[in-house]
């Protein structure tokens, strides 16, 4: 019976004294949660006068008139959502195609490595540099493309003219490039972690490479690809500097994607400097809405991710 006794002694030794590690973990977690709580509390507090004054009308009104103390962010909500979705529409097919290209052996491994590195480097370029590049490179290019689109499809409201350089379309192009690395990197990861046995199974049944990719590999990697897209959407919605430099920051609502528009993040960045009193409160209200939208997007993403992961749980 000597062995169990010595074991319980040593356990008793571990128990003695306060558990500093545990304490440290609690402290670190508490700091994180409290910081988030504090941020949201402060935003709500400073937004309160505007919330009190405008209520839900703030969300549906299109008037942003600081001189007359009338504020409404409907055009900015629309601009945030639409510019992000247009960016996803452009970046998703491209990003997924690159991810497939990089995860399959179309090219020798060293070449793939280089391409992968270059795509991921796109994420390292600062936002303001994208903005500058957008102004000097993308605007002229997108303007001539937009002019052509307007001349051909001008009858369709979303392609209606006149085409401006600073427009939702321009901002979306640059956003698409900025979120490309997110989509590519995460999709590539989930594509290459599709079990080898599944690929072999598909090939052993006589699949061509494309049948294996489209029929088996892509569906198996779907959770990761969905996650990549949602994360990219979240990033696009919160993106501030490049968008503020390119979108035109107009509070006028327009159907055409070639017209100037505005986003919540751009609005905040542009107006904080000279805002006073109720305008500050209104900007805080807008910030609160932005947080809620991105939170909502992330929650949907999480839910979709969990659902699809559950669907493919057995293969991992």
């Amino acid at each position: 019976m000597s062995a169990p006794t010595s074991q319980s002694n040593s356990l008793a030794h571990y128990k003695s004294g306060p558990d500093f590690f545990r304490l440290l973990c609690w402290l670190a977690s508490a700091v994180t949660v409290l910081t988030l709580g504090w941020i949201i509390f402060k935003i709500v507090e400073s937004a309160w006068p505007a919330i009190h004054k405008f209520g839900w009308d703030f969300l549906t009104s299109s008037a942003w008139l600081p001189n007359r103390e009338r504020f409404g962010v409907f055009p900015f909500i629309v601009g945030t959502v639409v510019s992000s979705f247009v960016a996803i529409l452009m970046a998703f097919p491209l990003g997924l195609a690159i991810a497939i290209f990089l995860s399959e052996n179309f090219l020798p491994a060293p070449v793939r490595q280089v391409i992968r590195f270059v795509v991921e480097m796109l994420a390292a370029i600062p936002s303001v540099v994208y903005g500058l590049w957008g102004i000097f490179v993308v605007i002229p290019l997108s303007k001539s493309f937009a002019d052509w689109m307007v001349s051909v499809f001008g009858g369709v409201p979303i392609f209606a003219g006149p085409a401006y350089g600073n427009s939702l379309f321009t901002a979306s192009i640059v956003l698409a490039i900025m979120i490309l690395p997110t989509i590519t990197a995460i999709s590539r990861n989930s594509l290459s972690s599709v079990p080898k046995t599944l690929r072999e199974g598909a090939y052993a049944l006589g699949s061509t490479r494309w049948e294996a990719i489209l029929g088996v590999i892509l569906p198996s990697a779907a959770p990761g690809i969905v996650a990549a897209t949602i994360l990219a959407l979240g990033r696009a919605m919160g993106e501030t500097m490049a968008v503020a430099m390119l979108i035109g920051n107009s509070s006028r609502l327009s159907w055409s994607i070639f017209s100037p528009a505005g986003t919540l993040a751009g609005l905040l960045a542009n107006q904080f400097g000279e805002a006073q009193e109720l305008q500050v409160n209104s900007l805080m209200y807008a910030a609160l809405i932005l947080i809620i939208i991105t939170l909502f997007v992330n929650m949907i993403g999480e839910a979709v991710l969990r659902y699809t992961q559950h669907q493919t749980a057995g293969i991992r």
Binding site: G206, V216, I315
Partner: protein, 271 residues
């Protein structure tokens, strides 16, 4: 080993099927290399029709490598190379007129780890038919029932054909993979340690299934389990260090092997 004798008497009893072709699937002077490393040396083997042929041998002896050459799966690996020939029904599988896609459709494969696709049970079974262009519902329905019955899984899953295949148990998944392989109506069924991830009860079911399937298919099974080889194979090939050491009736291999190395292996002296 009484169990061997029982088994053999059962299997050698005359069956009503037409006479078997002795060289249904054959390797001729076959060498295989992973890069510079040679994995198979001068393999000559003739696998008879509608029999179960077991490949045994210690890990790394080349038995899986040879199996994966029969449907040219090894070509998915970069830097591999072969010499010699493999013939299915007398025709080289490396012949220019042979498409690897159709070769793989006529040689089914079941893997060590069951690998159902993240689709419904139904869609798993008809995968091979769909990619070969079959989309008529009645044909697919018929193939699903036939294949699942063939894999002894029909009764267990007939009421949930459209549920995800990933909800099945390990043994059911493996039988689903067998059903998926036989849905293509292959000439040969290759099995790469099909029971190594299964519990004993699921193993018994798959072994029974193998004995049943040989009435229709030529089966090659790689196994580490020598009892399994005695239980369900007619012929056994023993591989060691990339060479085919001995190939004979299973009964002969396990009761009176000609080679010393074979005897050492099956009696557990090495490997």
């Amino acid at each position: 080993m009484p169990i061997v004798d029982q088994q053999m008497t059962k299997q050698t009893s005359p069956n009503s099927n037409p006479p078997v072709r002795k060289d249904f699937l054959a390797a001729k002077d076959f060498n295989f290399f992973y890069g510079k490393k040679q994995a198979l040396y001068d393999i000559n083997i003739e696998i008879p029709e509608r029999q179960v042929t077991a490949f045994i041998g210690p890990s790394g002896c080349g038995k899986s490598t040879l199996l994966r050459n029969f449907n040219r799966m090894n070509e998915l690996i970069e830097g591999v190379r072969h010499e010699g020939d493999i013939r299915l029904l007398g025709k080289s599988i490396y012949d220019k007129s042979v498409e690897v896609i159709s070769l793989r459709r006529s040689i089914g494969m079941v893997f060590q780890k069951s690998n159902p696709f993240p689709k419904s049970i139904y869609e798993n079974v008809v995968y091979g038919l769909r990619i070969s262009g079959q989309s008529k519902k009645s044909t697919l329905d018929e193939a699903v029932e036939r294949s699942l019955r063939g894999a002894a899984l029909w009764e267990e899953v007939k009421d949930r054909l459209h549920e995800s295949a990933l909800g099945l148990s390990g043994g059911q998944m493996q039988r689903l993979c067998i059903a998926r392989a036989i849905a293509n109506r292959p000439k040969v069924l290759l099995m790469d340690e099909p029971c190594s991830a299964l519990d004993p009860i699921a193993t018994v079911k798959v072994e029974e299934l193998i004995r049943e399937l040989k009435k229709e298919f030529t089966i090659v099974i790689v196994t580490h389990n020598m009892q399994q080889a005695t239980r369900c194979s007619d012929e056994t090939a023993f591989f060691y260090l990339g060479k085919l050491i001995e190939f004979d009736r299973t009964q002969k291999i396990f009761s009176n092997p000609s080679e010393k190395q074979t005897e050492d292996y099956i009696t557990g002296r090495f490997g």
